[in-house]
């Protein structure tokens, strides 16, 4: 998943996001998580090229009880 950095994250950015996620991320893991996350964002941002228009998400809820 080697992708260009479309959403670069500073260590402070990651620390804030970690707090909001209520996750305990030991300091020695932060650099690896940040590097991987930047790569993941680069992958996910390929979806920006799609014209999603009125397309709904591929989910549905079945209201039947049985």
């Amino acid at each position: 998943m080697s992708e260009p950095l479309s959403r670069p994250l500073s260590p402070q950015d990651l620390a804030s996001a970690t707090r909001f996620a209520r996750l305990n991320l030991p300091g020695d893991r932060a650099a690896l998580v940040r590097e991987t996350l930047e790569s993941v964002y680069g992958l996910l941002d390929r979806l920006d090229t799609l014209e999603l228009g009125e397309n709904p998400p591929a989910t549905a809820f079945d209201a039947r009880w049985e």
Partner: protein
């Protein structure tokens, strides 16, 4: 031939005619596992005592005229993600080392009702989150991985430690070990088989299905496990066919779509050549080939990961906070990273999936099945699980494998992996036959036609 080497269908016929007893078959399989398991480590938990008890019961039932059908008395290995009442179900993770469920998963209930004999719980890449299964080795080359995440089931079936292995497939996890262990593996259509009681990796992408020695064996297992289940909200209330019904109908008149892109990029030439030769076998039987372009190739993996990362992190949210140190490093990293995927990014992936579904529906206009390599490469080294391509770049095994298997997860389309040859180095190669939604019988028909014309499934690893 020892009994453990039989296909399910062969063993079932011998059991039905009382030429072979379930006890003899189970003892043969257990002895084989005793002989090879220390080299392969396919099982997280073996259950020989329970197996012998079930085999004795099956033998008595059959002797008394209560034959339940072709699965009766057949040894099966169940991936350790599937809950089994009273038997440890660890997902091959220290996080769940002490978990013993009280109830069987839906599939295990059905297989037990059909009379199968559980010989153990097969290893998975931890929580199904990876394609290596590092606990386990490939029976064809003990220095290589069996693939994953259902690597234990693939290795066990290939080595003769059970006749059927159950797997799950979120990005390729049935077809990857099937391909590189030289077995058949079916990822059914999304919604065809209940996942109730199987630990989730990603609810939107998880499928469950069998790994077997032959196509017919897969059809026989599907007959027992397919069907709607209100307890799995993804299952679809559609008619369940007899999956063995059209197996011998041949491929004359069928149109096979052959991709001219995506599945042709960064692929081992021995794999491409084997699949091309296999397609030639089918055209020799009257199938017609049509070249097709794979739609939205750049959006498959972002959709796969955009769904899987946050869903997996949601499933593991409490466990990651309580037992982070017990996860293996790569799984822990994936789970941590998934915590930071925005909800809007996740929903964007769900919307992209709708477009991918429509694009693949259009792709199938004018073709009956699509055939491609199951994977870009054969089994890689266990010590260094990566593929090095001719341009010098390297790709982690999971990434290299999932590239070709993920389209069927994102689209939910059924995909059958069948053995289609070996590399010069003796490693199995698989091809995947993809089809329309809920059209597994056509996949099985094509797979059977190919298998009948070749002898790959008769080869056994030298252990």
């Amino acid at each position: 031939m020892d009994a453990y080497q039989l296909s399910l269908a062969e063993a079932a016929e011998k059991i039905r005619t009382k030429e072979l007893s379930p006890v003899e078959l189970t003892e043969s399989v257990l002895a084989r596992a005793d002989a090879v398991e220390d080299k392969i480590t396919a099982f997280a938990t073996r259950t020989p005592g329970l197996a012998r008890k079930a085999a004795v019961q099956a033998e008595a039932e059959i002797a008394g005229g209560a034959y339940r059908g072709p699965l009766h008395g057949i040894p099966v290995g169940i991936k350790d993600l599937y809950e089994t009442a009273g038997i440890p179900t660890t997902s091959s993770s220290a996080v769940r080392a002490d978990y013993v469920p009280e109830r069987d998963s839906a599939v295990v209930e059905k297989l037990t009702a059909a009379g199968m004999v559980l010989v153990g719980k097969t290893h998975t890449h931890e929580f199904a989150y990876g394609a290596e299964t590092p606990t386990t080795r490939n029976p064809w080359d003990l220095e290589r991985i069996p693939g994953g995440s259902s690597g234990g089931s693939g290795a066990a079936v290939a080595a003769g430690e059970c006749l059927v292995g159950m797997g799950s497939d979120t990005g390729g996890s049935i077809r990857i070990p099937a391909s590189i262990c030289g077995t058949v593996g079916l990822k059914p259509t999304y919604g065809r088989v209940s996942r109730r009681g199987v630990a989730s990796l990603s609810w939107s992408l998880d499928h469950v299905g069998p790994l077997t020695r032959t196509v017919r064996d897969t059809a026989l297992v599907m007959n027992a496990i397919a069907g709607y289940d209100r307890d799995d909200p993804a299952t679809v209330d559609v008619a369940v066919p007899d999956f063995t019904g059209g197996l011998e109908d041949g491929v004359a008149g069928l149109t096979i779509g052959i991709p001219v892109d995506y599945f042709t990029e960064r692929v081992d030439p021995e794999v491409s050549a084997a699949v091309a030769t296999a397609v030639g076998v089918l055209t020799g039987q009257g199938a017609v080939v049509r070249e097709v372009n794979v739609p939205m190739p750049d959006h498959v993996l972002p959709t796969e990961w955009g769904l899987m990362l946050p869903e997996a992190s949601a499933y593991h949210q409490s466990m990651l906070r309580e037992k982070a140190d017990l996860y293996t490093p790569s799984v822990r990293l994936y789970l941590e990273v998934g915590e930071y995927v925005l909800a809007t990014d996740y929903i964007k992936a769900l919307r992209a999936r709708t477009l991918l579904q429509q694009a693949w529906r259009d792709l199938f206009e004018g073709i009956d099945v699509l055939i491609a390599p199951t994977l870009s490469a054969p089994a890689v080294s266990a010590e260094n699980p990566a593929v090095t391509w001719p341009d010098g770049t390297t790709e982690a095994a999971t990434d290299a494998y999932v590239r070709f298997s993920a389209p069927a997860n994102v689209t939910g389309l059924p995909s059958l992996s069948v053995p289609c040859g070996f590399t010069e180095g003796g490693l199995p190669i698989g091809m995947q036959i993809m089809g329309r939604p809920f059209d597994e019988p056509t996949l099985l028909r094509v797979g059977q036609a190919y298998e009948s014309a070749t002898d790959w499934t008769s080869r056994r690893p030298a252990l």
